[in-house]
Symmetry: C2
Subunit: 341 residues, 2 copies
């Protein structure tokens, strides 16, 4: 058993209350006793038991991070990773810690059980929650709606509940922007990758494209495979670039662009001479380490993570919140992978 506050008090010849006051700076205490207590704390390497403290204060200074992932891990893809970095930074700065919450498969199978994130917050293990990347299925989950309404939660991504705290970038807009850039360079047949997760945005993007870029033939392809990505991409390129005659490809993330480039190299298709490649990047300069350097829309995922954490902590600590929902602006970075035709 570690030393308790009473041990410290006894050794310093004071009461437990005095020790508490000194440790928390709650009230003035004489210099003499302060010294004695410091010595005793040092002696025992005393650290206040957080269960007891939490029981009293009803706060753990821990923040939960919940990034549900269908099949793959939350430590995958630079979008997630950059967000995690940003979150970690903000939390560390404000002296909170980060608890990773990963749902058991069991929950998704039989929806009866309480989801873990809710459990954690009800159990007071965490003071607040950062969420991202919910699939549509989850957004309709009553447990989810409840938590957003009743507890301190920031959702990163398209806002789910009209009052909820939220941080986002305009997915549809920057994707259309990417297509517009290619269009202005003369491209009229574009292969556009979109993930299952963003299916719900697809229609809006396509509509906007039809209105604004009338001559554009857009081939939206939903392409899952993280697993055997190389082979899959190879056949997609053969189908859309070689056979259909697409002159440009729009990738969703740099990792995808990388595999795309490898596939092109294998097929002896030169980038950008024969096909242009454009991508989204979530980490600064991610596109610059490829060859050729890939032009990309930079989405500041790390800043979004950090901002979400700040917002949550401000809310928890009762600070004034200027905006419930904060938008982050992507920035286009021109490099060497696209050309005018």
């Amino acid at each position: 058993m570690e030393a308790s506050i009473r041990d410290v008090a006894r050794r310093a010849g004071v009461s437990a209350a005095t020790v508490s006051r000194i440790l928390n700076g709650t009230a003035a205490v004489s210099e003499k006793k302060t010294q004695a207590v410091r010595e005793a704390v040092e002696f025992y390497s005393y650290e206040p038991n957080q269960f007891a403290r939490g029981l009293k204060k009803q706060s753990s200074r821990m923040i939960g991070v919940y990034f549900p992932t269908a099949g793959t891990s939350m430590f995958e893809g630079s979008y997630n990773l950059e967000m995690l970095k940003g979150i970690e930074k903000s939390l560390r700065y404000r002296d909170y810690s980060m608890v990773l919450i990963s749902e058991t498969e069991e929950y998704w199978r039989r929806k009866k059980k309480t989801p873990k994130y809710l459990e954690y917050i009800r159990q007071k293990r965490i003071d607040g929650l950062l969420m991202s990347g919910l699939v549509n299925q989850a957004r309709d989950d009553p447990a989810f709606r409840q938590i957003v309404e009743e507890y301190p939660v920031v959702y990163i991504g398209k806002r789910v509940h009209k009052d909820g705290l939220n941080v986002y970038a305009q997915f549809e807009q920057y994707n259309v922007q990417l297509l517009r850039i290619l269009y202005e360079q003369g491209h009229r047949k574009i292969l556009f990758f979109i993930s299952e997760m963003h299916r719900n945005h697809q229609e809006a993007i396509e509509r906007q494209v039809r209105e604004e870029l009338p001559e554009l033939e857009l081939y939206s392809v939903s392409f899952q495979g993280f697993a055997d990505a190389g082979r899959e991409l190879l056949s997609l390129i053969e189908k859309y670039v070689v056979a259909q005659g697409c002159t440009a490809v729009c990738a969703r993330v740099i990792y995808e662009a990388q595999i795309l480039l490898a596939a092109c190299a294998q097929l002896q298709i030169k980038v950008p001479e024969q096909v242009s490649v454009i991508s989204v990047e979530h980490s600064r300069n991610e596109g610059a380490v490829l060859y050729p350097r890939v032009s990309a829309m930079y989405v500041p995922a790390q800043a979004m993570g950090a901002g979400a954490a700040e917002l949550l902590l401000d809310y928890i600590e009762g600070k004034e919140i200027a905006e419930n929902s904060i938008e982050y602006e992507p920035e286009y970075i021109e490099r060497d992978s696209i050309r005018r035709i």
Copy 2:
């Protein structure tokens, strides 16, 4: 205020103890009361307060993860990421959660303060600790030695304390193995990247090479730059491959091999025709998405993370531990990036 066990007890018309017994399955309770309690739990969406429970049980079912990083984030590099995935998996399976501990810079500047990982364990926030990637400086930290001796800790990497729990792969051996493979393919001048962190292994590797592969000229280069890696690598290739005539390059991680390949492409150096490339990979098939597919030594980082977590939990839960230190075997995977000369 959330409902407490007494609220549930009152509504079910039983005592708090009975509720506790039902929730924990600690003792037999009549079917009737069980039903009533279940209803009340449902009614309040009751979840036991973890502060109170922890205070009683002195356990939080949380495990700390501490990957100190000089400058860069713990969410960087597939070695870390794969370990995190493995850890996450094991912990989830056994119903523990994962707390990320990141040291404040402050600690490393002025070594006075207690490091956070020690603080957390003394405060009982976590039941145990998983550590990895300590720089040499940290290994000599008295706070560190103390924790390894006194608390439930598993270190992932070369063992630090003779009695500590530990999980590792033989860094020196598999690196020499990589060089041996190139040697057997006729390579006699090899550019070998080694990180600052592994400086202490360098000598051992070089000694073994001198003994075993006498004709080999090894150019060990310590190359930090994650930042402007591309440019840096370009000049290293020009220096060692073009000028010195190295016929093979050994990369430390796939990310590095990727940049290497991009640099070679830029310099019009064909791989493997003009230079062979070999690497270490920490995620299965990581090397296969590059072009050409890179031959690599697969180090099972994910399994190591999972194994470390298992070991720690077994220890915490008082299970018999067969081996204090577990070795993981890397596996060489031949692909297309090296050739006989």
